[in-house]
Symmetry: C2
Subunit: 299 residues, 2 copies
């Protein structure tokens, strides 16, 4: 089944203990769609400025991503500059230029509105609801969010959570949203706001899945090959939803397996800057690592 993502397309400049990259392709919708496109056809809705090179678009198209929903507006593309230090658990944002992304009011093309799997990447809950309202009853809708929206648009976010099927959220954001420092308590409380699937992401410590009334913890793929964590969360979401769209099944068993694929895609993504690791990745590598993770975590 096909999968639609609405989110940012960006130029990232990143510095980590292992190197740096300037003005490379990034953004939530880019990481998500590239990761998901190993599993299912992806439709990308987003905005770029006139400075966005055609070869980036061609690269996405060559990987099975429908970019006909990616609009070009007068002005510059969204730019993010950040730095990771120490354990690289979180980014320090050095500069943000929203540019054309600042006025983005996504208009979903009519031909995309019946897409069964929908991911609302990080964005204002008002805009995420605006997108969801245009879709024709998707089979599975997930959203992401961030600290800014929890602080500034909490009511709208809570409304959105009553409308989506799933949420992916960082541990810090889960604590901020609920006031619970215990992540199991936090996840349960978020599930009571509506989403039948809640995934609390803990970076190198893995993820907690809340579904069907249980909390299932999955470790991250153990690796010391971490070059750049940028996009790990969106690659996780892309692998997870890509797998769900591929098998077109949302039983607990499939959701759990989807988290394995999300974990694997995140583990590949962090091995290099931008999409570089994905560019030299085959589906067989993904399945092999998923099998490895299942074996390592079989206790």
């Amino acid at each position: 089944m096909s999968l639609l993502v609405v989110g940012s397309v960006a130029f990232d400049s990143v510095e980590t203990p292992f190197g740096m990259a300037s003005d490379v392709l990034g953004g939530s919708a880019v990481y998500f769609s590239y990761a998901a496109s190993f599993f299912a056809p992806v439709r990308l809705v987003g905005v770029v400025g006139q400075d966005f090179p055609a070869q980036h678009i061609e690269q996405l198209q060559a990987h099975g991503i429908d970019t006909s929903g990616l609009v070009t507006r007068p002005g510059a593309t969204f730019r993010w500059k950040g730095r990771y230090q120490g354990a690289m658990d979180s980014a320090e944002t050095l500069a943000v230029e929203l540019n054309v992304f600042g006025e983005f009011e996504p208009d979903i093309p009519e031909r995309f509105r019946a897409t069964p799997y929908v991911f609302l990447a990080n964005g204002s809950p008002r805009l995420q609801r605006h997108v969801l309202g245009q879709m024709h009853q998707p089979k599975v809708s997930f959203c992401d969010t961030m600290n800014l929206w929890i602080a500034t648009e909490r009511d709208e976010l809570v409304r959105l959570l009553s409308e989506v099927d799933g949420l992916v959220i960082n541990e810090g954001e889960a604590v901020q949203l609920t006031g619970c420092t215990n992540l199991v308590a936090a996840g349960k409380q978020i599930a009571r706001l509506g989403p039948s699937i809640v995934v609390v992401k803990k970076g190198s410590h893995g993820a907690l899945l809340f579904a069907d009334g249980t909390c299932c913890p999955l470790p991250a793929f153990p690796t010391d090959e971490v070059t750049d964590p940028t996009g790990a969360g969106d690659s996780f979401a892309g692998g997870m939803m890509g797998y769900l769209a591929e098998v077109d099944d949302v039983s607990l068993a499939s959701i759990k397996r989807a988290l394995v694929y999300g974990t694997v895609m995140a583990s590949f993504n962090i091995e290099d800057f931008s999409l570089r690791r994905f560019e030299r990745l085959e589906r067989a590598d993904i399945d092999h690592r998923a099998q490895q993770l299942l074996e390592l975590t079989r206790f």
Copy 2:
């Protein structure tokens, strides 16, 4: 098989967001031996002062712990006072009175020296080596350590690590010992110092096992019932080594299963102060929760 532990026996005073307890039974050797005694006969070697009540000793004996190696010295028992806040991931030490524990030079009774399973609870590496030197080639020896010894007795600790079979260590200590902020890199580096089994404990995020050249991550048992984390690490080690002594096998499969039991014992311990949760625990509860953990983590 029987299991020997050398470590502290203490009176703890603890404050957490969920209550407080004053002068309750604690100490690394107490938590370890009580947890381990659900699985195998335990021999405890330690020291207490003249203020230590007979009923504490009787309680340990009633649970299958041989306390004939617990000596009483003139003076007061070791006392620790601490507080947990927020996510309760680490204790803030408010007061320490070493008392008789400060001059403890453990003398292992001759009848205990052939014990096949040995745990050197947190203590100075010099004393831990002094104990190990008295043992008659144990089948499996593990040690614990802490930030203080890494800072003050690093050389002696490195020597100890070349002599033991296993190490349990907190994530922060693993980073301190190796200088690696990536825990997978840290664990691999520690394994190169000697121990064929390294367990890096991550509190609510679970543990990483390094053995047989692989890194196997195990999540913690997901729970929002956390009253007091004091003794969780020693309960983990007790469950783990108790299980190994019970099955008397150190294949990778048994070590992995031992980590499940360690995780389960830690998860029970944190549900109440001191030994209170263990006091109302049956072996069947332990096996039931181990089964639950295996199911929740089966992805």
